[in-house]
Amino acid sequence: MITVKFSASLRDLTGEDDEIEIDAPTVRRLIKLLDERYPGIGERLNDATSVAINGEILPDAIYEDIPDGAEVHFLATIAGG
């Protein structure tokens, strides 16, 4: 079981759910499951999205494993200067 916390930008799709517990061993699977639960979210969580797993921010995370008990956030990918 992992915990996914949603940012306010996704509220139009996630509604009242600020955070949910879900079973997902990889980011790819997680996004698929989330898209089933909140249709349209899969497209929103696209190339320009980074994933934070237990505080570590990963820009190219689609194939990453998610350890059991992890906390997951979706963030806009940052560009530096």
């Binding site: 930008s9 509220r11 139009d12 934070a52 505080g55 921010i57 820009p59 956030h73 530096g80 200067g81």
Partner: protein, 753 residues
């Protein structure tokens, strides 16, 4: 000075942390280093660009015939010479990028390129570019977020529906997107506060101000390939963007990075490159294309102007209970301001339980903004760090103490989502609080202010090769353009890993054909990410050297150690073998000694900074001078202390310019009034004192040497620190940037009215 966490247990290094001479230094002090405009090829033509004189207009027609007939002209191009990416179904971002490089149907800002020419001399190219007859139908324009968001404002892109808006808008507008971060209950938070302040701030577009204008040389062959010599912050991404714009595959282009004369984020994108390549293919000759300073100001990417509304509440004992932030950033002609990052950094330094942070990306008829050192963060920090200072004054609490009380620490849930790992914000606050500057009395007639800042820092994709020459000297080859001294750090890593003198290491930057992929030099990533990959190469080579020594001694690899630059037999019975010894006999032990490693490096650590400034205000002229400045920044581990200090000082001084004088001044007709260094006033040596640096070292647990990026955070606090100091000096709270003499004098004169 350096303040290391736990100095007794900190590892001690022989080379890392020393002040070696940078490998590219000799060429730079003798004038030999080649920057983008310094390459001269046989048969080379010179280019010039025709640019829109209007802020917003439809292109009715372009007649190039006069230009084509002029003496010395070998090629003229317009958007007709580039693929129509919209028609090809390309991504919107790519369509916009191509339109930015060469306008297709509309010009969206004064300076927008419309055509380009290659001729046998610069004067001929300029004359021909000026002779291109463009017929425009001018359109009404908008210059600021206020104008762009006003009811009935002319819309730049008629399919632009605000992304992230709730509910989804029915009509197109100039608001490209909306970012939102929320937590807790705002009303309850403000109700819990004893003091609530509400302020509105504005900032103007400012330019990165690199001294070297954009420049490149393109040399196309008859085989559908081209060479590009260009100063950029990332030749691989430049290659990809140029190829997309040309309708080419990236591998058709080989990009060689020139030395780069400053970037700060502004050279992470393309302007001239596709034009130069296309002119070269059309002319069948190399083409050099260089911007003049006016073009740099008018037609490259400054950072956003903005409007910000901030409301914040604090209890009498210093707990910040709520923050409400609304901001709109100018993106320029196409979407993509750093408002998203600003929304993430806005209150990231603090643990605030109730907040709403909302940011809008707004297009307007100005050049498309580009990244500028911690993009977005300095702008919002001006507001946040100013209002926190006012709150501190309001509850009579020391501003450092107020920040300490609310500071984000390891485990704090960041305002943008995830928990912070080990970070050094508190340490930078303490470093300033304990500094000699802070403990000294404020000089007579001066005011003192402080502010803090944060930047994420990133890792990313890097490739490096390390090989050992037959004489035992080491080559380190990377693909990260060196904008701040990173080659010196790469050499220090190799010296430390091998245990050899840093003078025996050369560090070079290869082109897109001779090294594997590398992300841009930006995001404060190179020392961390490219450094990591260099370290990986060195460690792999050391394993190989142990194996070769074992073969030489006919013993087990486990009996061989690598110590102080030599292979040593654990029993001490063999004469040690140096790098030179092993390299000389390399053919006998497996061939040349060389390793290439690549990685998408993770584990970048956030960087925090706290800064302190004393200013003196002449209240008859409105002129404000920085009298003393101290900056404390967490570098994790300073690999080359001089260049870490250099990054800190450079960021601070850009912030000082941003605070006092720098701004884009547009005339009502949308043209830029100050496209020169005379009227766009950046700091000069006589404006400034020495910038005292305190390098704080709270090691990044995810890097072998504890490195955190340092290039960017330094520019985040200065404007607010100075605003706070001005308030302390003359009791005037300035909420508009720049805090120029005219504005400061107005504020002083209106004081107490």
């Amino acid at each position: 000075m350096t303040m290391t966490e736990d100095p007794k247990n900190a590892p001690s290094y022989k080379w890392v942390g020393s002040r070696s001479i940078r490998p590219d230094g000799l060429d730079k002090v003798t004038g030999k280093a080649r920057f983008g405009a310094d390459l001269k090829l046989p048969n080379m033509l010179e280019g010039a660009v025709t640019r829109s004189p209007h802020a917003h207009a439809r292109i009715v027609s372009i007649d190039t015939s006069a230009a084509e007939a002029m003496p010395g002209v070998h090629a003229v191009i317009t958007a007709a010479d580039l693929p129509d990416l919209a028609e090809a179904g390309a991504k919107t971002d790519d369509v916009f990028m191509s339109a930015k490089v060469l306008a297709r149907d509309k010009v969206l800002w004064e300076g927008h390129p419309v055509a380009a020419v290659a001729a046998t001399s610069r004067e001929q190219a300029r004359a021909a570019a000026d002779a291109i007859d463009v017929v425009y139908e001018t359109l009404p324009h908008v210059l600021t977020v206020d104008e762009a968001l006003a009811d009935g404002a002319p819309v730049l892109h008629d399919t632009m529906i605000t992304k992230g808006a709730d509910p989804v808008p029915e009509h197109a507008s100039n608001a490209a997107s909306r970012a939102l971060h929320e937590r807790g209950e705002l009303d309850k938070g403000f109700a819990d506060a004893d003091l609530v302040l509400e302020r509105e701030y504005t900032t103007k577009p400012v330019h990165q101000g690199y001294i070297e204008p954009h420049a490149c040389v393109a040399d196309a062959g008859q085989d559908g390939r081209a060479e590009l010599f260009v100063s950029s912050q990332g030749h691989f991404s430049m290659r990809a963007m140029t190829a997309t714009t040309l309708g080419w595959e990236p591998s058709q282009l080989n990009v060689t990075p020139a030395e780069i004369g400053g970037g700060f984020g502004g050279k992470t994108t393309i302007y001239l490159e596709p034009l130069a390549v296309r002119l070269s293919t059309k002319a069948g000759r190399p083409v050099r294309l260089v911007m003049d300073r006016g073009e740099v100001f008018k037609a490259t990417g400054p950072t956003s102007g903005s409007r910000m509304k901030i409301k914040m509440g604090v209890t009498n004992d210093g707990q910040i209970t709520a923050a409400e932030v609304w901001m709109a950033f100018e993106a320029g002609a196409f979407p993509g301001s750093p408002v998203g990052a600003a929304a993430m950094t806005a209150i990231a330094c603090y643990d605030i339980p109730n907040f709403v942070v909302e940011g809008f990306d707004v297009v307007c008829n100005k050049p498309k903004v580009a990244a500028y050192r911690a993009p977005g963060a300095p702008i919002i920090a001006y507001g946040i760090e100013s209002i926190i200072d006012e709150l501190a004054k309001g509850i009579e609490m020391d501003p450092i103490d107020l920040r300490l009380k609310n500071a984000a620490v390891e485990g704090t849930q960041a305002s943008y989502g995830p928990q912070f790992p080990r970070i050094g914000f508190v340490e930078t606050l303490e470093a300033i609080r304990d500094s000699e500057h802070y403990k000294s009395p404020v000089p007579e007639g001066c005011g003192r202010g402080m502010a803090s800042g944060f930047w994420f820092n990133i890792g990313g994709n890097s490739t490096a090769t390390v090989h050992i020459n037959e004489d035992g000297n080491v080559n380190v080859i990377t693909g990260s353009p060196d904008i701040g001294g990173s080659r010196a750090s790469m050499a220090l890593f190799a010296a430390e890993e091998f245990g050899i003198d840093v003078d025996r290491v050369s560090a070079n930057i290869a082109d897109t054909q001779t090294i594997g992929f590398n992300d841009v030099t930006g995001g404060s990533r190179v020392t961390l990410a490219t450094g990591s990959v260099v370290i990986d190469c060195c460690r792999a080579i050391k394993e190989d050297l142990r194996r070769r020594a074992a073969k030489t001694w006919d013993c087990e690899v486990d009996d061989v150690e690598w110590v102080d630059g030599q292979a040593q037999h654990a029993s001490g019975t063999e004469t040690p073998l140096s790098l030179a010894d092993l390299a000389a006999k390399a053919p006998r032990t497996g061939g040349p000694i060389s390793v290439t490693k690549s990685n998408n490096v993770r584990g970048a650590g956030a960087g925090f900074t706290t800064q302190l400034v004393d200013v003196e205000v002449d209240d008859e002229l409105g002129v404000c001078r920085v009298v003393r400045y101290t900056t404390a920044q967490d570098a994790g581990k300073a690999i080359h202390p001089s260049y870490v200090e250099g990054q800190m000082q450079g960021g601070v001084v850009q912030g000082i310019g941003w605070a006092f004088n720098e701004e884009y001044i547009h005339r009502p007709d949308g043209t830029l009034d100050n496209p020169s260094f005379l009227d766009y006033r950046i700091p000069v040596a006589s404006d400034l004192p020495m910038i005292e640096t305190i390098v704080v070292e709270v090691p990044n647990p995810n890097h072998p040497y504890g490195v955190r990026g340092v290039g960017e955070a330094g520019i985040v606090p200065p404007m607010a620190a100075i605003a706070n100091a001005i308030d302390d000096a003359v009791d005037c709270r300035l909420v508009d940037l720049p805090m120029s003499p005219v504005r400061l004098l107005d504020a002083i004169n209106q004081r107490g009215e």
